[in-house]
């Protein structure tokens, strides 16, 4: 009996020793955004009891994947409500996987919105447009939250820029987000060009757009893509750039 008590004492003693180490490690995790997944009741509500247990047991990733596959299946059946529901769970479980936020936004802002716009069951156009815009907002929300959780991932900024460009026709915001995407590590080279293009569509922003695109042009051959040259020429005409400073005409 005494041995049992001493053993318990040893474990408790070491327990006290390990506490600061555990807390400091947990803090480091939080600092690096590795584990800001709050394991509290709201999460439990979101994913149900089994999911909660699985999440705690460290199988968040597998569970998220299973739900993701289910979401894709729901999409094929155009069950938009279910798609949204499942993607909410998937992104709650794995907030640090940009792919999930991106896919969620795509399904909402591109697919669900289109389905809502063309919904044969809704005769009133005004209501269809309203539904479509709601899906835009949901998609935008996914991307914004995704960016909050993954601030250094270029793809999410890119997708948000495309959302503003294609769905809201907001070239200013599109340009801003393409630029933010370009600032992220590992961004594809077209992001900075797209930022310039979008800026060039904004009324009153032509001078800045010209500077941006010209700077890119000066970087070399790899930037001198057809669209860039086209927009640059358009801006040169619009801004009356003196001929000596204009880019040479393309020789094909």
């Amino acid at each position: 009996m005494t041995r049992a008590l001493i053993t318990l004492g040893i474990i408790l003693g070491f327990g006290i020793l390990k506490l600061p180490a555990e807390r400091s490690l947990a803090q480091e995790h939080r600092d690096w955004h590795l584990a800001d997944l709050d394991l509290n009741l709201t999460l439990r509500e979101k994913i149900g009891q089994v999911g909660f247990v699985a999440a705690l047991s460290g199988f968040r990733a597998m569970l998220a994947d299973i739900l993701f596959i289910q979401a894709e299946a729901a999409w094929e059946r155009t069950e938009w409500g279910r798609v949204l529901f499942l993607f909410r769970q998937v992104t709650a479980l794995q907030p640090h996987v940009p792919l999930f936020w991106d896919m969620a936004a795509w399904h909402m802002a591109w697919n669900a919105s289109a389905a809502a716009m063309n919904n044969p069951k809704q005769p009133r156009q005004a209501l269809r447009i309203k539904a479509q815009r709601e899906y835009f907002t949901i998609g935008k929300d996914f991307l914004e939250r995704g960016i909050k959780n993954n601030p250094r991932n270029p793809k999410l900024y890119e997708s948000l820029a495309m959302l503003y460009r294609d769905k809201y026709n907001d070239h200013a915001r599109a340009s801003e987000f393409f630029r933010k995407a370009a600032d992220c590590p590992g961004a594809p080279s077209y992001d900075k060009r797209f930022s310039g293009y979008e800026l060039s569509y904004c009324e009153g922003w032509e001078p800045q757009a010209y500077i941006q695109l010209r700077r890119l042009y000066d970087e070399g051959e790899q930037e001198r893509l057809p669209t860039l040259i086209k927009r640059l020429k358009y801006l040169e005409t619009k801004l009356n750039i003196p001929p000596s400073q204009r880019i040479p005409d393309q020789v094909k």
């Binding site: 040893i10 490690l25 995790h29 394991l39 460290g58």
Partner: protein
């Protein structure tokens, strides 16, 4: 022959050879268990079946492959660690081999160390096999997608091709995955040490396994208990006492769930990895020492 002490070999207080003999023996014994083969084959099938995910885009495919493989490795090594280690000491007691071993000049702590290292060797080998299969599949798929993409984009501007290829490589095989595998091994080793400790005073094999399953779940809640205990000043002293016990006795198994984030592509800083490693080793040492202490008092 009237000499008192044998001239064959001198007794040494600590002998790594004795521990090695005990460890390899434990390893052979465990590797013969049917449950080991069943688990291993199941895990390999699971990893292999993720190849069927090729219908998705490559990013999703690689994502799922990594999740399933690392998840399978984590799950099966956890189960193996508990189930295999639980039977080591009771089996020796039942077969009376424990008497013959301890009647030799083998200190009891070396016996415990030998069993532990045998279990750790088993886990290491299993993880190595699973990781090799997983890495091979991922590498082959990555090469295949790279090849396909290069062929499709061959005529495009070089910048774009490089972008595409580097995106593929970023989601494919990278060094963080092996950090993840190491952490999985660490967690399994922790569970093995804890199981060994429980088995030193448990009455039956089943008891050990059941206790360990409960411990596994509670240990995942330990960080929650810990923070509630240390931060919530207004809770009653009974509940605070209970939370304190959980926080002190159980290990923080959540700290070893780096796998989820590794798969998400978040790079693990060296500092965190090192601290996790040290914490894991610390736990293993504590529970092994506790096991040795209990074992010294055990009536055989």
């Amino acid at each position: 022959m009237t000499e008192q002490i044998s001239t064959v070999a001198k007794y040494r207080r600590f002998s790594p050879w004795r521990v090695l003999a005990l460890a390899t023996n434990a390893l052979v014994e465990l590797a013969r268990q049917k449950v080991f083969y069943v688990l291993l084959i199941f895990a390999l099938i699971l990893i292999g079946s993720s190849v069927l995910m090729a219908r998705f885009a490559f990013q999703q495919e690689f994502q799922i492959l990594k999740d399933v493989s690392l998840g399978a490795m984590s799950l099966f090594t956890s189960i193996l660690a508990i189930v295999a280690t639980a039977r080591l000491i009771p089996q020796d007691l039942e077969d009376r081999t424990l008497y013959t071993i301890l009647a030799k000049p083998v200190p009891r702590y070396e016996y415990i160390l030998g069993k532990l290292f045998g279990a750790l060797l088993l886990l290491a080998i299993s993880i190595a096999v699973m990781a090799a299969l997983f890495a091979a599949i991922l590498y082959l798929r990555e090469q295949s997608v790279l090849d396909q993409t290069w062929r499709q984009m061959r005529s495009g501007p070089p910048g774009q091709v490089d972008d595409a290829l580097s995106t593929i490589r970023a989601s494919g095989l990278n060094s963080d995955i092996f950090v993840g595998v190491t952490v999985i091994f660490l967690k399994a080793s922790l569970l093995a040490a804890l199981t060994l400790f429980i088995s030193t005073f448990a009455t039956t094999n089943i008891f050990t396994v059941v206790v360990m399953v409960v411990v596994y779940f509670i240990a995942h809640l330990q960080p929650v208990a810990r923070e509630y205990w240390l931060q919530q000043a207004h809770a009653g002293w009974i509940s605070r006492g209970f939370l304190a016990l959980v926080a002190l006795i159980f290990p923080d198994l959540q700290a070893f769930n780096l796998v989820d984030d590794i798969v998400a592509g978040v790079a693990i800083p060296m500092a965190i990895f090192t601290k996790t490693l040290l914490l894991g080793i610390f736990y293993i040492v504590i529970y092994t020492m506790a096991a040795i202490f209990v074992f010294y008092g055990k009536e055989l």
